[in-house]
Structures are given as C-alpha cells and as structure tokens.
C-alpha cells in the first residue's frame, strides 16, 4: 500500500531539511523533516518524496545472523 524505497544519503542540507540521496544509482533530492538528525551514509526509506524512517543497519545484520544461528542449531548435522 505504501511502496517505499531505501536510498543512501549522500549529502544533507540541514537548513532546508532536504538531502541528496542515491537510489539504485539514480540520484534525487528528498525531504528529511521526518527523520531529524539523519546523517550522510545512512539509509532512509523514501515515500512520496519524504524520508519516513532511517534504516537500522545493525538490526538488518542481526536479523539475518539470528536466523542463520537458529538454522545452525536446529538442522541435524550431516544434512546437505
């Protein structure tokens, strides 16, 4: 319902509350009024021209690590 795309922040304009971001190689300017304190290098989720959330890199890694761990513990040894 609300298609949002992750984009990397390249440059922040804190006075106009805008940022230049990179989305899959194409650059665009988005509003950052909803994500105060966002920094260059972080990833934001963009919807209708506004960054609506900062993506949590640590969480992204942890989420995957957790599932891998769960699989390692629960898969019987010797299974292909």
């Amino acid at each position: 319902m609300c298609l949002a795309v992750p984009a990397k922040v390249l440059e922040v304009d804190p006075t106009r509350l805008r940022a230049r971001v990179d989305y899959l190689g194409s650059q665009t300017v988005v509003g950052i009024a909803l994500v105060g304190g966002v920094q260059t290098g972080q990833f934001v989720l963009v919807h209708v021209g506004e960054a609506v959330q900062v993506m949590d890199e640590e969480q992204a890694r942890d989420g995957l690590a957790l599932w891998r761990e769960w699989l390692d513990d629960s898969e019987p040894a010797g299974l292909p």
Binding site: M1, C2, L3, A4, P6, K8, D22, L24, G25, G31, A33, L34, V35, G36, F43, L45, H47, V48, G49, E50, V52, Q53, M55, D56, E57, Q59, A60, R61, D62, G63, L64, W67, R68, W70, L71, S74, E75
Partner: protein, 402 residues
C-alpha cells in the same frame, strides 16, 4: 559479484541479503514442518491476510505465494488506498477537475480510477488541468507557479503517506500560500482490521501487517490487535521477510496469548516515527470515514484540523456533490475485505482489465485485481477448483464428509 545496488556493504545487507536464495531454501526446509503441523491441526490451509498491497505484489512476484500454496491461503486485504476510497469521494475528486480555474494534483494511480461518469484521465483529455505529482511538496510548487489558479492535492493514502501531505500543509501555512488546498481522504489502517476481526463471517487466522504503515505508527500502533488477541506479524517485503513472517505468524497462532511480532526491525521501531505522529496530530484529526466495502468506520479517517482549515478543499473550495452510481457487477468492495478473490468476479479479465478498468482494484499497482491480473491469471483454473482444500484429505489428515 557486482551488486546492482552500488556495491556498498550496507545496501548488500538491506536489499540483497534478505533475498539470499541459499538462506531462503534452508529456512523454507525448516519452516515447512511447522506449517504442515498447523494445516493438519486445522484440517485446511492457514488463512493469512496480507493487509498491504505491496505484500500482495511481493508474494506473487517472488513466487513465495506458490511455494507456500499447499499450506497457506493468502488473502489480500484493504491495503490499496485508491481501492478503499469510497465511490462518492472519487466522484468528488473528479468534480474538482471540472471546476474552472482549478489545477488538480494527484499521485499517479488516481488518474485512471473510474468515477461514476468519468475518470481524471478522461477529464484531462477534455481539457481539465490535472497534474501527476510525485510528492505533495510538488503540489505546493504548482500553487506558487500558478498564483491565479487554485491547486487541489488529492490526499489519498494511509499513515505512511499522510505525513508528507502534513508537511505540505505546514509549508503552505508558513509561506502564506493561499491557493493551495488538500482534499483529504486519508485513512487509518487499524480501525479497518478491527472491523474485519469483528465481522462474524470472517475466517482469518492471522494478519501480516503493513511494514511501512508500521514504520510510522510503530509496533505500538497495533495494540488494538493485541487487545483482540489476534495473531499478527509486521513484515518486510523481501523473500526472506515473507517466509519468516509467515512462520512467525503460524507460531503466534499456536500461543494462547498473542503479541504483535515485529519482524521488520530494520525499519520498524516500537514507537514508530514520533516526529511524523506529532505532525499528523497537529495538521489532522481522526474522524469517521466511509470506506469502499466497509461503509462508515469510526475514527478511521484523517480530516484537516481546525488550525489548517483554510487549506481544506472541502471547506474552502466546496463543489456540488456529484451523482454517484455503483458499477454493476464490480466486486471491489468484497475484494478489499478479503471476502472474495478477483478470480471470483465475473468481470475480472473479461469486461474489466487494466487497460479498461471498471473498478479501482483493477487500476492501482497495489490493487488486488490488477496484481492478480498480472501474476495469478494462469492459476485461474486451479484456484476456482481449490485443489488445496483437499490437501488435508489427500494426506489422510481429515476424513471425507459423509
């Protein structure tokens, strides 16, 4: 390997790793016994509503729908803003396009939605000034560029979209833009899910909650579902997100007391986005709203608040109420509630196609009919015959009825 996302490590984690085919296969192998167990217990497939239209697309496009088809019946919910907009509101919005001196600014998927007499696209072909905007702030720019005209933004969308519109209202107020107006039909998701849960006809086992609405309202925004003890999981949109969310949802079903599980932690926080919530409180107020298929739902819409009333198109720029007629045979109202699938509609794929849509569910990229038209038509015959319902029978888990 060359990453299509620019090769940064973070992008790899965010986008690609949640698509890792090897991890997907391992997870699937591990998860299927749990799904099988639940199917056996129920004597039928697990019925999960994916509320968000983007989830419906993801399940089809990635093939996860087919992979899980023996165990899970995915039911598309009220997660397409254009689709849940009441016909009278659509007619109202189209009426603005006919108003002299008016520029209608809209997100793209409204253009082709059929009103009772015409669509915005048709109005534009007949000379109306209708512009597709990518963001609400572009609509404010339009107002500044056309000072002698009135610019009306069609505010269609859920909790994720409304903050962007709220920002445009604040900007218009700050800069004294007097020719910018919003026609708000913004809607809040939780009241619609409550209505579904309370519907005695409904037989849903759990909800896959919209990830990007949750980015705004947070896990806490769904306490209503916890009060109703509904199994519910907030999920992302990549293949690993989908399959793990379904698993966690089935695990939640097995518990006597259900909590809303956040399986999209890289985007969704417990409290959501407080800045966006404050902005919504300042510029809008919750009000009863009419939904296609549901009718009037209390506190389920966003009306422009007292402070910003000068920008409310309904108040500042009223148009005559147009005559609204329903499209005969269109099942969109039942489809958004998950009570029917597009494949049960007699117009689907015959009289009603994306090229010539009769209802909004066939227009929007997030509309269930449009998604099923694009991805699920080839399974049409299978679905009608519902072979999966016989899965439990075939496996001998359930005795045939006498």
């Amino acid at each position: 390997m060359v990453s299509p996302c620019g090769g940064s490590g973070l992008t790899t984690v965010n986008l690609l790793a949640y698509r890792d085919p090897e991890l997907f296969a391992r997870l699937l192998r591990r998860i299927i016994p749990a799904l099988e167990e639940q199917v056996q217990k129920l004597g039928r497939r697990v019925r999960i509503m994916e509320v968000c239209g983007t989830h419906t697309v993801s399940f089809s496009r990635t093939g996860v729908r087919q992979v899980l088809a023996d165990f899970v019946e995915l039911i598309s919910g009220p997660g397409c803003p254009v689709c849940v907009t009441d016909q009278s509101d659509i007619d109202h919005m189209i009426a603005y396009a006919k108003r002299p001196g008016t520029v209608v600014a809209t997100f793209g998927d409204m253009m082709q939605v059929p009103g009772s007499a015409a669509s915005l696209r048709r109005q534009r072909a007949e000379g109306a000034d209708v512009r597709v905007v990518y963001s609400p702030s572009q609509a404010v720019d339009l107002a500044l560029e056309n000072p002698q005209k009135q610019v009306v933004l069609l505010g269609v969308g859920f909790e994720t979209t409304a903050p962007g519109v709220a920002l445009s209202l604040k900007r218009a107020a700050r800069d004294g833009v007097r020719n910018y107006f919003v026609y708000s039909v913004h809607k809040l998701t939780p009241p619609a899910l409550k209505a579904l849960v309370e519907d005695p006809d409904h037989r849903l086992d759990g909800f896959l909650l919209p990830g990007h609405v949750s980015a705004i309202i947070g896990r806490r925004g769904w306490t209503l579902l916890e009060l109703l003890n509904q199994p519910a999981v907030i999920g992302g949109f990549e293949p690993l997100d989908l399959v793990v969310s379904v698993y966690r949802l089935v695990q939640e079903m097995k518990r006597p007391v259900r909590l809303v599980v956040n399986n999209y932690g890289r985007v969704v926080r417990e409290d959501g986005n407080p800045a966006a919530q404050r902005l919504l409180e300042e510029t809008f107020e919750a009000a009863p709203a009419r939904w296609r298929g549901f009718g009037m739902l209390p506190q389920s819409g966003l009306e422009i608040s007292e402070t910003y009333r000068a920008f409310d198109a309904r108040v500042a720029l009223p148009v005559d109420r147009p005559v609204t007629k329903a499209v005969r045979g269109c099942r969109c109202g039942e489809v958004v509630k998950g009570k029917e699938t597009p494949l049960q509609c007699r117009l689907f794929g015959t009289a009603c196609t994306p090229e010539r849509p009769l209802g909004p569910c066939m227009v929007s990229d997030e509309g269930t009919c449009s998604i099923y038209y694009q991805y699920e038509r080839s399974h049409h015959r299978d679905r009608r015959e519902e072979p999966h319902e016989d899965y439990a029978l075939a496996r001998g888990w359930r005795q045939p009825d006498a």
